[in-house]
Amino acid sequence: MANVTFRNVRKSFGEFVALEELDLHINEGEFVALLGPSGCGKSTTLRMLAGLEFPTSGEIMIGDRVVNDLAPGKRDIAMVFQSYALYPHMSVGENIGYPLKKRGIKGRERDDAVQKAAELLQLDALLDRKPKQLSGGQQQRVALGRALVRDPQVFLLDEPLSNLDAKLRSYMRAELIELHRRLGKTMVYVTHDQLEAMTMASRIAVMHGGRVQQFDTPDAIYNRPANRFVAGFIGTPPMNQVEGTVEGGHFITGGHKVPIDRSAYADALRDGPVVLGVRPEAITIGKGEGLPATVRLAENTGHETIVTLELPDRTRISARVEAARRLDVGHSVALTFDPDAIHLFEASATGARLNLDAKSASVVSMRSK
């Protein structure tokens, strides 16, 4: 078991910069998800940790060893690939046993370890099959088995569930959580699926444009997004963002005043343009007092209804209401936001949160350099 540290890591492919400057410290036994849209640098990060890509500069450490110059096989890691990367010409048993074979473990000892890993993943009946004869879910478990069979310090998982169907995916999520609990190993998990990250990870590093946007617990990521990108990436539908200005301690948009909890900001709340963020569930749709809006669409999913509303300045926002609520398209309504659930961001492109706490600030401050 070991912690993992990225120190000032930068990666460029010729002109293209994949990672700007990565500082990340993952604690021993932690389950960390690297979450972001494609091209954000999350896979590059994982592959550098595995030794499959080389950082342009900076240091990568596993435990207290700098691993930059170590071959992948000497880093004491195991990896599950998105494509599973099962060796097609080897049986399931040979696939799982391969990492042991490469470490000179032979005969009985190897067979026992393979058997144990196979039983853990309910693969023991399939040991003689070839990967091609297995279902997608079974192949995925073989890939896991190949990682588990050895006792590595860190597990790396690169979108391991993305090729499974929805039902199997949710089953495997539970399996992986259980596995992490049982093994207690450090796990680094790359995904573009926020549901996977939110449900499985102890901490999430949200990445975008080659930078870590926020590295925090799922709860903090959801409830205190560090900037507009995180706010707009997490949640389905994501947080609404309304442009406006702060004047005398109030948020004004389109001539309407929205009350905010001033105590949360102290001196961060200065007059000028800001972006207000509010989650769909913190919006109340009523009549009379409030921000005027027009109902554009109401989608009933069975247990709730997602309402798309249009503000006078044409900004579209969504709100979550109970399924039974009837709202007619085209009708005018008045919106009120829960003052405790309002987030304010800088109006700049990066859009940092106005009241960042010190920990998140350290991550975000670098972007202004």
Binding site: R47, A50, L52, A71, G73, F81, Y87, K102, R146
Partner: protein, 275 residues
């Protein structure tokens, strides 16, 4: 109308196919005709009697077997040499990064298209000055000029078809680069290697120009120039004998076609004709 269409389609297609195959059929028919029937006017389309005398004469009275042996040695050596070099080279070109790699790949493609007659003059001089004229080794060396770029290009393409993560997984699992090559890449590349080997063998087996220029001693003459010389040297052209020689010369191809045709078609996809 509905039932007639497929029949018409079949008839048209098969007529064309048989027309294309006719020269080959005619080759076999001629090789089996007795001498007396050969020079009939008009020719008998279906032979009245069949004889193997020409094959017997070919094997017992002409140096055909020696030519055949030379061709086997030549084609097999060229193939083994070129496939080993090509496999390692293709692995390097596809899976490694170093300066000059792109240039090398371009050079391979360029030489793949280069006309033999440009190289033949200096090669003739070089092989003569090395004292390798009239030796199979000199001819093998000359055959690498077209076989190596071809094999490299084909193998490069097959290598690109092997998922990179397969090698990565082996590296993470503890293999070295060469270990990963042996355990994972080589087994995956094997069909491509077989396909490349077959193509290289056929190219080398069929090669004519280098043999014509570099060899004039009976003892190393391969089939192509050897059989051709039988045509030229004979006072009275013995077409049956030549057709028997042609059939015998095509035997390796017939074997490949009968049993390994899928490797030939997969080689085609790899050999630079991907859209």
């Amino acid at each position: 109308m509905k039932t007639l269409r497929p029949i018409v389609l079949n008839l048209v297609t098969w007529t064309l196919v048989l027309l294309i195959a006719f020269p080959l059929l005619w080759m076999i028919i001629t090789s089996l005709k007795p001498q007396s029937e050969l020079f009939r006017i008009p020719p008998t389309w279906i032979p009245e009697s069949i004889t193997f005398e020409h094959y017997w004469r070919l094997l017992s009275e002409t140096p055909f077997l020696r030519y055949f042996r030379n061709s086997v040695v030549l084609a097999v050596s060229t193939t083994v040499f070129v496939v080993i070099l090509g496999t390692l080279g293709a692995y390097s070109l596809v899976r490694f990064t170093y300066r000059g790699r792109e240039t090398m790949a371009m050079l391979v493609l360029f030489t793949y298209l280069l006309p033999s007659v440009v190289l033949i003059i200096p090669l003739y001089l070089m092989i003569a000055s090395l004292g390798l004229s009239n030796s199979l080794f000199g001819l093998i060396l000359a055959h690498t000029t077209f076989a190596l770029p071809y094999a490299l290009w084909l193998l490069r393409s097959f290598m690109e078809g092997i998922p990179e993560d397969l090698e990565n997984a082996a590296l993470v699992d503890g293999a070295s680069r060469m270990g990963a090559f042996k355990d994972v890449i080589f087994p995956q590349l094997l069909p491509g290697i077989i396909s490349t080997a077959l193509f290289t063998f056929i190219l080398s087996w069929n090669e004519y120009l280098y043999a014509l220029v570099l060899v004039n001693s009976e003892s190393v003459t391969p089939l192509t120039t050897g059989v051709m010389s039988m045509l030229i040297s004979a006072f009275n052209i013995e077409w049956s004998l030549l057709m028997a020689a042609s059939v015998m010369m095509s035997l390796p191809l017939i074997v490949v076609f009968a049993f390994l045709q899928s490797y030939l078609t997969s080689g085609f996809g790899a050999g630079g004709v991907k859209g």
